[in-house]
Amino acid sequence: MSYFKPINKHPNLEKNKLGLTRRDYEGGVSTLCAGCGHDSISACIIEACFRLNIEAYKVAKLSGIGCSSKAPAYFLNASHGFNSVHGRMPSIATGANCANEDLLYLGVSGDGDSASIGIGQFIHAIRRQVNMVYFVENNGTYGLTKGQFSATNDLESKNKYGEDNLFPPIDLTSMAIQMGASYVARSFSGDRDQLVPLIMGAIQHKGFALLDIISPCVTFNNHDSSTKSYDYIRNHNEAMGKTDFVPLGEEIKTNYDDGSSVEVKLHDGSRLSLEKTDHNFDPTDAGNSLELIREKNKEGKIITGLLYVDNKCKPLTEIMDLPDKPLNTLEQDELCPGSEVLDEINKGLS
């Protein structure tokens, strides 16, 4: 028996503007447990990149340590990748971002990687508005090390062996909004219709985009008392209205009643159209968003959808006024200001 995906593909498979099919965006066959939510997220990343006609060689996949951090091996085979030590992916992303603005940075991390060991780095990457999509594949556990509680596990959620969790969870979305993240969404690995447009929006957004994605660990955190199991999420998911990604120059296809949808323009001119279930909700008002998250938490609901967006933010490279071109393409004359400038400086010192 071979476990490799055969090269066969459906002859009628849709092609994108680059003439590629979804399958051209795949990676190696996953070695994660069958049924792991992380694999579904990989599939959604593939779908989003396919639909956005992204050239894989213009993408860098960055990750730390964990099952989630292994996932970049299972999508976008033709992209760049960097697998850092545990919790250190944000620093790599920050450095890479400064050195080369042209690449699309997809950071893939877990709740352990980001909310425990890497939380310090995580917060500063947000604060500095690194231009990247930051995925937290959130399963409430340390999957790779066999199921210890993570810092996002809910207080009442026991582990697989029935032991109590002693500490309250960190809510990554509220924390990110408070730290200044400019695109914050929560979703569920099992809801592709919601997740794919959110990823597409995050990719087109310029600035730090956090996707906190509940992603069940079938092996260590899918039991009855878990609050991150498939069943629990399906029963407690409160999805905000439908999200549609509208590429540049295309018409919005879905029709909502007047006033029941908002449109968010992204940096490249494409738009997200959000159906509103709550008429008073404004996704560009941080206070509003924090309030909503807190309220739903209190009700025992998991609110999913685009929670906050600031489409006017300045990304790191602009804040620091870095050169537009990747550093490795700068020529001698661009790097060296020349003897005249040097003389000028020297004069100032004398």
Binding site: M1, S2, Y3, K5, P6, I7, N8, K9, H10, P11, N12, L13, E14, R23, V29, C33, A34, G35, C36, G37, D39, S40, S42, A43, G190, R192, P216, V218, N222, Y230, D231, R234
Partner: protein
């Protein structure tokens, strides 16, 4: 109360069977069957009523739609959960087996070849199609255009050539032949004609203790397989081995015995099977036909006289008229007999020719020109009254609404020739069947025969092969033979002829352990392998030299690896599924979609890849926890098993679907199963 109408029992479970109205039979088959799933008759009865109602509504909808639109719509309701206990559901997924008139289990014999178990592979074929060596060389192979590989890749698996491999590489298979009872059952059956149809009936009846007598007008058995299929396609040893194997099973063969009166035969037997073929070659009544008759030959008669070595030569210039396989055999035979200028003329465009692609290709490869759109007008004679050529008119094909019309262009051409061979079709002819003995004929002088039972209007007389509905091919003759043998056995045992044995089926899980499956999904991605041919020059000089050499062992094993194992079925259990999408993501050909249920038309549109091939079914699950359903488009599944391998809960399983079409050889097996 135990009203058993519409019910029958299989493996101790009650099934519902409802006859399909005549007008829907070509589409739905003779009857519809579904299990009630109940062993207890009282529990089965209420379920029966429900199912019967469903069937009746279905008939009603289809009839109305068919009347309204001339097409049959697929219902307007949400899709029903697929009933995989219906043996036909998974049978249909095995495209080759489903297309085969005898329903030979192709993927199983190909796997046996891959394991070099040639004897087993041969016997599997023999039980189902009776003439693996003959068919492996000559079969019309309806399985190949149906082969899934033709959709997922480029060309189908060389199924027919692999069948030949089972013959070429087998050892002595005599020990595996069915036992023939010493004590007979007292029933005598007369078979008229010793072609493949009759021989199949004999083979199927002998193991049950019937006494079988075969009457053949020629001096050797085999029918058209001997007299018309040239030995450069089918060597005499192969034919003799497979034909005489049946005779040796205990059939009494009377050769040189032309039956000139059915009436005289009927009373000596408990049942009679007519397998006399369609022996009359069509003639061409155009000017000059009578005058030139010495050099004009009816193709099938001419081939026969060559087979019996009465004819040994032909003129130098030969025209063959006709576009079917007989024309191909005639032209290739003429060349081998010494003609040096052979042309085939056909009225239609080349693309519409009836000949199988491979036979046409062989003729073209042997350098024979095919003149299409060429319609014969007149035989031309020289001063001595001898044939000197033919006049033809060029035609033009015009297509309106997909219908072809051949329009004469007025352009005439003349082709010189010494001899003409007519290969323009065959007719049935029954001058020896009396009109007053209860056998009804239709307006074309063909007997009226029931499609399911092969019974004529005379209860004791059955028809099959070309004699039933006109010229077909060997594999259809075999399929008819199986059905006729079942009917004859029922008839002699006083069982209703429509109470036919169901196919033997079972589904066996292939899971052996974690990450272990008992079949090899590592298919070859190579193109279809070519079969080696004999040296052309030599072959064209020798009437008996076989042209195709068959695969050697290496080629056979490589070709076998191209098979997609379509009998390895994906079986889904919704109660185990947690909707994690692992199967959706791993499936290489995007067969699986989880979505909301809808009408078939809408469902087909909204799958991951729209399901445009309406010939292929959708596998629909019951409702899942989220209210959605799983829908699998069977069309492009490569049976890799990865969905089952990746499924964390075992909601998908891979199960081998063993489907054995009913024939009398497995009657003993059915009995064994019922006991168990």
């Amino acid at each position: 109360m135990s009203d058993k109408k519409y019910l029958f029992k299989r493996n101790n479970v009650w099934w519902v069977k409802l006859a399909v109205p005549l007008s829907l039979r070509s589409e739905l088959g003779y009857d519809l069957r579904r299990t009630t799933g109940e062993k207890d008759l009282d529990k089965a009865l209420p379920i029966r009523d429900k199912i019967v109602e469903e069937f009746k509504t279905e008939f009603q909808i289809r009839k109305v739609n068919a009347d309204d639109k001339g097409i049959v719509l697929r219902g307007t309701e949400h899709m029903q959960k697929t009933d995989i206990s219906d043996p036909q559901y998974f049978h249909k997924v095995v495209d080759c087996q489903y297309a085969c008139p005898a329903h030979t289990n192709v993927p199983e014999y190909i796997r046996l070849i891959a394991q070099k178990k040639y004897d087993d592979a041969y016997m599997l074929n023999w039980e189902s199609n009776v003439f693996p060596g003959i068919l492996g060389r000559t079969c019309d192979r309806p399985c190949e255009p149906a082969c899934r590989r033709g959709r997922t890749h480029d060309k189908p698996v060389a199924i027919c050539r692999l069948k030949r491999v089972t013959y070429d590489y087998k050892n002595d298979i005599d020990p595996y032949l069915p036992e023939i009872p010493k004590v007979k059952n007292g029933k005598k059956i007369g078979l008229i004609g010793a072609g493949p149809a009759s021989l199949t009936v004999a083979r199927d009846l002998l193991p049950l203790g019937y006494e079988v007598t075969i009457f053949e007008k020629d001096n050797k058995p085999g029918g058209l397989m001997r007299t018309n299929i040239p030995s450069f396609r089918l060597p005499a040893e192969v034919l003799d081995e497979e034909v005489y194997r049946i005779i040796k099973m205990g059939a009494e063969l009377k050769t040189n015995s032309y039956i000139d009166s059915l009436k005289n035969v009927i009373d000596s037997f408990d049942a009679v099977f007519v397998g006399t073929g369609a022996p009359k070659g069509k003639d061409l009544e155009i000017p000059g036909r009578k005058e030139a008759s010495e050099n004009i030959h009816i193709g099938i008669d001419w081939l026969t006289s060559i087979a019996f070595e009465h004819t040994k030569s032909i003129g130098k210039k030969v025209i063959v008229i006709g576009g079917g396989n007989t024309a191909m055999d005639c032209c290739r035979t003429a060349i081998r007999l010494g003609a040096d200028d052979v042309k085939v003329t056909v009225r239609s465009p080349k693309s519409d020719m009836k000949a199988s692609d491979w036979e046409l290709e062989e003729a073209i490869d042997e350098g024979i020109p095919i003149l299409d759109n060429t319609s014969p007008k007149e035989f031309l004679l020289d001063d001595e009254g001898k044939l000197k050529g033919m006049k033809f008119e060029k035609m033009e094909a015009q297509y309106t609404d997909g219908r072809r019309k051949l329009i004469p262009t007025g352009e005439e051409i003349i082709i010189e020739c010494d001899d003409v061979l007519l290969a323009i079709g065959q007719d049935n002819a029954f001058p020896w069947i009396e009109k007053n003995i209860g056998i009804d004929f239709n307006e074309w002088d063909c007997p009226i025969v029931d499609k399911t039972t092969m019974q004529s209007s005379h209860p004791k007389v059955f028809f099959g092969g070309d004699a039933a509905w006109g010229p077909e091919n060997i594999i259809w003759a075999v399929a008819h033979g199986h059905q006729a043998a079942i009917s004859i056995d029922n008839f002699c045992s006083e069982v209703d002829l429509f109470d036919r044995p169901p196919p033997l089926t079972n589904l066996v899980s292939q899971k052996m352990g974690i990450h272990e499956w008992s079949y090899d999904n590592g298919i070859s991605q190579e193109a279809r392998l070519e079969v080696p041919h004999a040296d052309l020059k030599q072959a064209l000089n020798d009437l008996k030299m076989e042209v195709e050499l068959g695969f050697d062992e290496k080629l056979a094993l490589d070709e076998a690896q191209r098979c997609l194992n379509c009998d390895m079925q994906t079986v889904f259990q919704e109660k185990l599924c947690i909707e994690c999408d692992a199967c959706v993501d791993i499936c290489p050909t995007d067969c699986i979609t989880f979505t909301t249920n809808d009408t078939e038309e809408k469902v087909r549109e909204k799958l991951r890849v729209p399901a445009l091939n309406l010939d292929q079914d959708l596998y629909v699950s019951g409702k899942l926890a989220t209210g959605r359903v799983m829908i699998k488009d069977e069309d492009m599944c490569v049976h890799c098993g990865l969905c089952a391998e990746r499924c964390p809960t075992g909601a998908w399983d891979i199960q081998k679907n063993n489907y054995i079409e009913a024939h009398n050889l497995n009657k003993g097996r059915v009995k064994a199963k019922e006991v168990a």
